[in-house]
Symmetry: D2
Subunit: 281 residues, 4 copies
């Protein structure tokens, strides 16, 4: 029985890049984190220590900075597409290149009702993400959102579930539903304007979350995914991960304080994690 | 030479509390982290293990939740004032109580130009903070902001500094100035409306940062502090910590790519840290 | 074209559990983090909000604590096996259960050459991990290590790699090789004693890392994986992720200080990430 | 009423440095994080943006790397002493320099009963720390430990504390006492060998923690501090921060499982925080 190399890849992670695009009326500031990962003919790198087909991860990093000047001008999806194309076409030993980009949100400061031309404030932890993968024949583009922290204070219930000998949870017809959502969707047909698509899908996800009469996280998750597929013919499938950031009612009754479902213990751990993909048949 | 107990305190940290205030037109959602710290007659607790004067930190935590129902209705400063008053007046062995609160920012979702009545999105890592301290004679209130991530893409220079044998930094008349600011100010005269004061001071800090022609972080920091003191007679002093989140120009010239000060390496470490207090004579 | 539910699962994550096993001569202290994840007939939970087949994640958490008393007595693998068996056999709607456990390392304090009977010190961030998955027909067990931070100060080179227009990295025949390794291996034949297997494989990984004359991270990774497969017939395959924690020589020559490859900038980001599976043909 | 600059300082934080000291028999590997902070005549830097007296934080960082070659050969205390001396004596505008260093623990791999000459494994999150401060007249040196995660499974009680209307905690004569301790002590008389002092004090802290029959965290903390002062005449005072990492008994009785104080919920938040200084009269 021979021992051999199986699935393998390598690349540079956490390439932190910022860019100023100096427009006539204002400065556009962008900040991204880039991961590059390559697959290909790396057998002898592993078995013999032969680096002849290894493009160093340091060079991958330099490439990201060098190409950002001319090719990171619009969406992160367009930049990622350029990067995977570069690696696959210039490196014959590379059979597949994957580029992931997360874009940090910044907003121009709003002063006296106008956006300042060059002063920015962070938009928080929420990030616009993309994952682009290319091999000799095909290319796939997915876009998404990470760290989308949303909640609703009502219109969320959780009832009529299984009870067994370890059940202590009480049924509730009115609870806080809070989640730090990760979403990604895959395009069937690559759109002309990724940023416009992103804004539209993000708005629809928020709208659906807000308006849904939730009977469970699962049901709200599915409703959000279905809404996107119904409205966006170019989206093939969408995956959502919804960790349940529990807000547990604090027991005021033990102190003879009347209970009106208003004071909660906000917890991080443990957390329920609900995830699913919604797709077209 | 006798060995003895010096400065000491104890309390509960990271009490995570959320509250829904059900207003006629909408649900107000609030989330805070509370630290309680007590000083007093705790000598024998340390030297003898006598707990007769110890209010357990678990009880302190319960107290925060129990009092939040009736006393966390407006600002975090008002709630902290109530809590320190409670601990100092109900616990004769406590000579000084300190309560710190950080409030997480949440915004009601904006859909079709209107704020949703009960769906929220995180406002990011920036937090409104307060530290209230009370002993038998006096009370002090400071308010502040933590994790305020702001930047400007121009109007920032750093030149004419000391050069020695270890200098490699190049002077620049145009750099990115980015910082994750911590600010706190102390009130001389306690305001009637802390939230209004907070909003006004925060806006002034942002406005000053944006408009300042910066020759150094020190100069911008001082300008921000001075602006607050000039505009707010009730503020006694203000302290700012401004870690410099460096965006270092990437050397494109080594690849014969024309350099226009547009591509940067965004770094977290190491970081410059500038801090100062600005006050009235 | 119909929209439908695809892959989905749900469960409780980050269930933090500690246990004291009171042995005659000493107290054994164990601390673990448990993730439970279930797949099954959850279609109507998503599409209709019907929770009739949903075992709440809160109950899953209670189950972990309740079963730990009688069934977490030896290895985390044995406990995970019991948990997946419990969920699959008691819940007919569950087609597949996955339990991941990470065990925190603690060592009894060594005082006067003897292990203290009940005082412990943390063994650091390194954790023993397992992932056990069961469906109606089969069961799979993998064990592993996370956050294994190891380094060697010599016997590591990186030379003769591809150079292109973006190359700036210098070849080196003597560098620091540092990595925070994640390893997991899958058993073909379930061993009688998982802890003994774990200790033996961990020792072999460390020994191989230490003794290897490394021409690249890839080559060291492969050598480590191969060594385990050669020595452990019951291991089917092994996967290693080796992020390269770069220690970059600081340029002392610019200050006319003789350079002897001794002072380094320790960096976290960006980082090279090398990963591969080694298996039997 | 004039507005003026109060307390201020600036410097470089998180300078990550590693060093190989090539000894005849083995390679000594060291990794440290350094913070530099300067006070002095920086009024006009703040008020006028005049940088004539500013040594850039980038130069401070370079200085740390440059001086490490010849002056980081033994303890972090000795290196910090050299650094503060350098800044105060070469920079006339600096009235006070503070250097903090945290050293990461690494151990040579133990294989076949012998330490490997150049392969290391992390010693975990615990760090040896120092803070050295120098002005024109005086110098102070404190040493310490951070992130010291220790626990004992018995010999810890918490009883006879105050009960009020918000008390729910049950008295216990046998609980887990766990803490992630931060300790620092100040030397009265600077020792010849800081590393020997450190090892001796650390051993005494652990021994006292392990052997103490604890009636409260406060009592154990005081015992640990007193033991160090009694045994080390050169130590002037010692401060300890002991966050209580609660392990809360899981209520098995609700499931009719006999309770033997063996299964616990390990929690991070909220946490009790006990801190005190122990000193000589």
């Amino acid at each position: 029985m021979k021992i051999r190399l199986g699935e393998n890849c390598y690349g540079k992670n956490a390439v932190q890049l910022s860019k100023i695009i100096r427009r006539p009326a204002y400065h556009e500031f962008r900040q991204i984190s880039v991961n590059v990962s390559l697959k290909g003919d790396f057998e002898e790198a592993h078995t013999l220590g032969d680096n002849a087909k290894i493009l160093p991860t340091d060079t991958q990093k330099n490439t990201v900075y060098a190409l950002a000047r001319d090719h990171f001008k619009t969406s992160i999806e367009d930049f990622a597409l350029h990067l995977v194309h570069h690696f696959v076409t210039t490196q014959p030993q590379v059979s597949e290149a994957t580029v992931e980009i997360a874009e940090h949100a910044y907003h121009r400061l709003l002063l006296d009702g106008a956006e300042h031309p060059h002063a920015y404030i962070s938009g928080g932890q929420e990030k616009h993400t993309t994952l682009v993968r290319k091999d000799a024949e095909s290319i796939s583009v997915s876009s998404g959102i990470s760290d989308l922290l949303i909640l609703k204070t009502t219109d969320s219930a959780f009832e009529k579930y299984i009870k067994d000998q370890y059940t202590t949870l009480k049924e509730t017809s009115d609870r806080i539903l809070a989640t730090k959502c990760t979403v990604s969707w895959m395009y069937d047909k690559l759109p002309a304007d990724y940023s416009q698509q992103f804004d539209s899908i993000r708005e629809l996800l928020l709208r659906t979350f807000a308006g849904h009469k939730s009977l469970s996280v699962q049901q709200t998750l599915f409703a959000m995914g279905r809404a996107v597929l119904e409205a966006h013919a170019g989206v093939k499938e969408i995956s959502l991960e919804m960790p349940n950031k529990h807000h547990i009612p604090f027991n005021l009754e033990q102190f003879n304080i009347p209970h009106e479902n208003e004071i909660f213990i906000a917890t991080d751990e443990p957390y329920g994690l609900i995830s699913a993909t919604v797709l077209r048949d």
